[in-house]
Amino acid sequence: MAVSNDVRRYYADRIFARMSRDKAPRNFTPLDVPFTGRAVVEGCRGGGKNITEFHLVADDEAVLDLRVSCGLCNPAMYVAGDIVVDWARGRSCSEILALDALQVPQLAPFFEALGGRGRPDDAREKFQYALLGVQNAVRDHRGDATLGLPEIDEPTAKDWAHEDDPFLADDQEDE
């Protein structure tokens, strides 16, 4: 399917343009110290080698640092990995685990980081995979059993910003 404009712009400006033969943005390089938690997520359809890996370093309270490595092809997966890793760095383990990846309104911070005008569904799908991956890495760090992946809806051309605005509804409930 077509890559959404927001994902395309983020990938081009924030990832592709900053990578070369000799360098990569920090989120896509290995940790400088041994990891304490690790998880892999098959974030792209078709199976095979489309594996996104998360490595993190955490203490009892928080994730001190983490990185993502997305072998192969999908720009939306790169984008989601970059955004979710940025979000999780420095955040408490309990706060990371509290998010429900299947509740789209809870992905609002990630859409915000994506920027742009829309909330494209291709980003939604990869945010969910990335969040589940990071959460499993946290569980691995804590010595807890990692969870199997739930069913994630396939991406469509839909833009959540034009739906019934679940983000707004979520905000209202919080108030």
Partner: protein, 441 residues
């Protein structure tokens, strides 16, 4: 060979090359993994099932008289196949030829069978194929368990040149009095670089001085060039028949007879034994002790046809000259495209890369686009990923997240310059405008 065979005539012998999809023929550039098969090999495999579909077994020297029509015919084919394999690599006896499923199995037999003691060391390069790495890591694990020392270092590696070329001095320096095994890939499946014969000879001499053996993973050399085990001075050699127009799942382990006879069998059972009693077993001498159970007799029959075809109909001169011409064309087209987002692995000179050209990028999306457009528009079949040299790619490229984003095109004698141009056109299109091709990743 009186004269070089015509490539168009050779192509006509491959049924898979006559197929079309969406009105276009295949462009098969994944020959490093597995080659296509000519009709003569397919016919040989079919002949087994149609004409003499029985079990083999019995002695490899063929002296045991059979009173069984089909078995007699099968034995004739089996003996011919073993003799063809022996002749192909310059072995001294058919009893040194062990049938395996592939190079991996052959190397496992050696790694599992060689007697090692704590303190012994295994040496390889930093770029060994997983088939020539993992069996030795397993040997290391077993020795650690025996020694009760989880930190015991058994396998050591030496670095290659910056461009992936082989450095004899580094390899020689890695061999110590503790070295019992030097396990090397003869030619790289990643970038096609080959260890020169003189270097193999020097390494063999050195490792023999210290009481070790040289194990050569020849999966990427035997199908492409003349290899003579006696001239090289190696002790074990492994290769796959399916990388040289033969049936899938056929490989060969060669070893110097006295060494084969000294190593323990890996998989045992029927046909590996001379005799058994309730409390003990006496194994056959090689090669029988390594060929457990009923074998792939169709594959063996096809292997003979494949070796005959490569040596008699095609010839290594044709293979080498065609691969060089094709890789030169690919290199001339792709090397100028190199930039911050796209580059080639291995030495610049195509003459040093056999039939292999491997592209790399930090962007999996770019690599994916080349593969996808090649498939959709021109039936191009290439290979993407880490090509079973994960350890090398991790070591070299993890810092830039580029370890996994590689695309390999590998040619064989039946490929054409026109096919190379079709592929190069697609690569050029994507590399010059990579962000245009992000969709449908």
């Amino acid at each position: 060979m009186a004269h070089a065979p015509d490539i168009a005539e050779l192509r006509a012998a491959f049924p898979a090359l006559q197929r079309t999809r969406r009105g276009k023929p295949p462009i098969y550039l994944n020959n490093t993994c597995m080659t296509l098969r000519p009709q003569v090999v397919i016919d040989a495999v079919r002949a087994y099932y149609e004409d003499f579909p029985t079990c083999g077994g019995g002695r490899s020297d063929g002296t045991k008289r059979l009173h069984n029509w089909f078995q007699e015919e099968l034995r004739g084919h089996e003996m011919h196949a073993r003799e063809a394999a022996r002749d192909l690599i310059g072995a001294s006896s058919v009893d040194e030829i062990v049938w395996t499923r592939n190079t991996s199995e052959a190397l496992n037999i050696v790694a599992h069978g060689i007697a090692l003691e704590p303190g012994d060391e295994i040496v390889g390069s930093e770029r060994e194929h997983n088939s020539n790495l993992v069996p030795w890591l397993e040997a290391e694990r077993r020795l650690r368990e025996r020694a009760g020392d989880p930190e015991l270092v058994v396998r050591r590696f030496f670095e290659l040149d910056e461009d992936g070329g082989f450095d004899l001095e580094r390899a020689l320096a890695a061999i110590t009095d503790r070295t019992r095994v030097l396990a090397l890939g003869h030619a790289s499946n990643l970038d096609g670089t080959i260890i020169p014969d003189a270097a193999i000879q020097a390494l063999a001499a050195r490792v023999h001085e210290v009481g070790g053996v040289l194990v050569l993973d020849a999966a990427q050399s035997v199908p492409h060039r003349s290899v003579d085990v006696a001239a090289l001075g190696v002790d074990f050699l492994a290769f796959s028949i399916h990388k040289m127009c033969g049936p899938t799942g056929m490989g060969v382990l060669w070893g110097r007879y006295e060494l084969l006879d000294a190593i323990a069998p890996f998989i045992v059972g029927g046909d590996t034994i001379a005799d058994t009693w309730q409390d003990r077993v006496e194994y056959k001498h090689p090669p029988g002790r390594f060929e457990a159970g009923l074998q792939d007799y169709a594959g063996i029959t096809g292997a003979a046809a494949a070796i005959d075809y490569i040596t008699d109909t095609v010839g290594f001169d044709t293979i080498r000259s065609q691969e060089l011409a094709l890789n030169t064309r690919l290199t001339e087209r792709l090397a100028p495209l190199q930039c911050d987002h796209f580059w080639l692995l291995g030495p610049e000179d195509p003459a040093r890369r056999g039939g292999v050209i491997t592209m790399a990028s930090h962007s999996g999306a770019l690599i994916n686009a080349i593969e996808r457009i090649g498939d959709e528009e021109a039936n191009v079949m290439v290979r993407r990923g880490m090509f079973c040299v994960n350890a090398y790619l991790h070591r070299r490229f993890d810092r830039t997240d580029s370890a996994k984003n590689n695309l390999r095109a590998s040619v064989y004698f039946y490929n054409t310059l026109e096919e190379c141009d079709v592929f190069a056109d697609i690569v050029e299109r994507v590399v010059k405008d990579p962000l245009r091709y992000l969709d449908d990743a």
